[in-house]
């Protein structure tokens, strides 16, 4: 199991598109992926879980990965956060 702390730095927080993008990316990997925030722990492959987390700009999250491809999963997810979920772009990803 590996963990990493990240801060939500995209202006609108983990809203619709970022939340979808996060869940979709998470589902690409076999590893389990949970997010810890303010004592909550949610399954990051669950859109409703991510939505109810309602992480706003500035929120500090701890990401927890566990599984055969945990390293790759963490790199990909951390990159999403670092890129602010491509918030400036409008391109809709295919589902």
């Amino acid at each position: 199991m590996i963990k990493k702390k990240v801060t939500v730095t995209n202006p609108s927080g983990l809203h619709a598109r970022p939340a979808s993008a996060l869940v979709r990316k998470a589902s690409d990997f076999k590893s389990e992926f949970h997010i810890h925030m303010y004592g909550y722990r949610i399954n990051a492959k669950s859109i409703l879980g991510v939505m109810t987390l309602a992480a706003e700009f500035g929120a500090e999250l701890e990401l927890e990965f566990d599984g055969p491809d945990e390293k790759e999963a963490m790199d990909a997810i951390v990159k999403l956060f670092e890129d602010n979920f491509h918030e400036s772009e409008n391109g809709q990803q295919n589902s």
Binding site: R24, L48, G49, M51, E56
Partner: protein
Amino acid sequence: MQKKEIIIGGLNSAPGIAIGKSFVYNPVGIMLSTKPVSDDEKLGERDKYFSAKRIIQIEIKKIAQLSDDRLDDDARRILDIGREILDDPELEKGILNRIDSDAEQADRAVYEEFQKYIDRLNLSGNSFFRERIIDLRDIRDRLVRAIQQKSLLMEIKDDSLVVSKDISPSEIIQFARRNIKAMASEQGGLTSHASIIANSMGIPFVLGAKDLLDRVECGDQIIVDGNAGRVIINPAEETLEDYKTLQRIEAETDKSMREIARNPGQTKDGQRIVIQANVELEAEIDRIQKYHAEGIGLLRTEAYFFDGDSDKGVHDQEVFLRRAAEACGTNGLTVRLFDVGGDKFPDYAKQEKNPFLGWRGVRILLDKREMLRSQLRLILNQNFYKGPLQIMVPMITNVEEVLEVKDEIEKMTAAGELKKTDWEFGIMIEVPSAAILAEHIAPHVDFFSIGTNDLTQYTLAADRGNPLVQSLYRYMHPAVWRLIRLSNLAAQRSRIPVSVCGELASDPGAACLLVGLGVRKLSMAAPAVPAVKKMLRKFTSAELEKYASQVTSAKSVTEAAVIRHSLLDEYELRTEDQ
């Protein structure tokens, strides 16, 4: 005394004018089961949940297909969220847990589990997520209703104009079944989807009519003007006359089209072409008659899927088959065996990396023989077929698969398990390997049906759902047409008929080119039938043959597309000449 005329403005969501009596649609609240389920019933409740989920998934997929590029980003996002909610692993875990551990019936389990999330979102300070509650409620209610199989619309009369506060896509699909004449609503959660469906079903629809329900009563005479976006309650004599005139003009423009649709499909020189409809949902069956399709060339059975002997699943499928057979009358009915993927099996936990190249279609049918057998038994032990019945197998890639399925059928026939014996056995040609080896497959089957959507996708290695490669998914690619020609030549040599049941057939230009290749049976989305029949009648088979041979010998996609365009230009000229 004559009531006062009231005009309410709104948004013109689907065109057309309807005059008639209003029906105020007020859905009753949902009643949930209260009885705990026994251990033996739990599996059945799980099944109920899974089959309801599948139906809603198909509805969402259907909306996405119908809409194509008509959806704006917001609407598409709402569709995506709907899909993601249905796929949510935690939600599903929670629902199944309520059934298994708390002995709740499926409808209650779904309702309560959704409620848990709705309550949490309500507490969240975030306005965007609070607004998603409406989507959650919509999906929850659709699931619950699908589980309960409640027809909320029992009391709606045919030919009424339905007014309501809110309309969901699934309600529209059900409305359409009652042959309603128009719809008007005050608001709508997923309104853009509702209007896409209204458009595709040809139902005039006015949206955003303020305070409509305060002003109209059940049975009032009203006019729904889907062109201008207006609802008129208790119209005055003059208004009524004006609208009747408008209606007449519209009807006349439509008349020639419908008259052509009424006639059987044929080319200018009288070559008979059978034009059939594709059907996936029960709600689409009524469109067979409306658009004068000559039977069903592709009956998809996945929406009423059952695995093994689930009673409810078997019952749903039987009802679906019966309604389809009745709608076809003495025309042909072609049933495609379950074309499901690995995702249909809850116990098949392993996620496939590449499901389109994975466990689907005939591969599953052969691996899960009991599924194949139970579907064949269901289809072939009915006596409601009045016209010819065909059964076809999806995703065939080689001769061995064909022989294996046939072997299974022969064993069942020998054991006396299949009552009906006069039916035809065919396969879908939707993988390039099947098209290339068509000459060796043809001697073993009674017919081919070419599925152009998958054939295009597999030939060009382009997922048409993926926007990054969408420009590569071009059905005018000459390679696709050569494979169609190859399949057709093989069929001619073995003297078996060929039909085309992909979306290609619903494009009038492409449909004509298919006829030029020698295809004599086309199956398409029902609303496309009139336009295809009309265009076919403007060309002789010899002319179409020439165009088609140019397409198969084209050197590039562009060249082939130009030929299709020149055919359309010629069509326009011939139409103007009249």
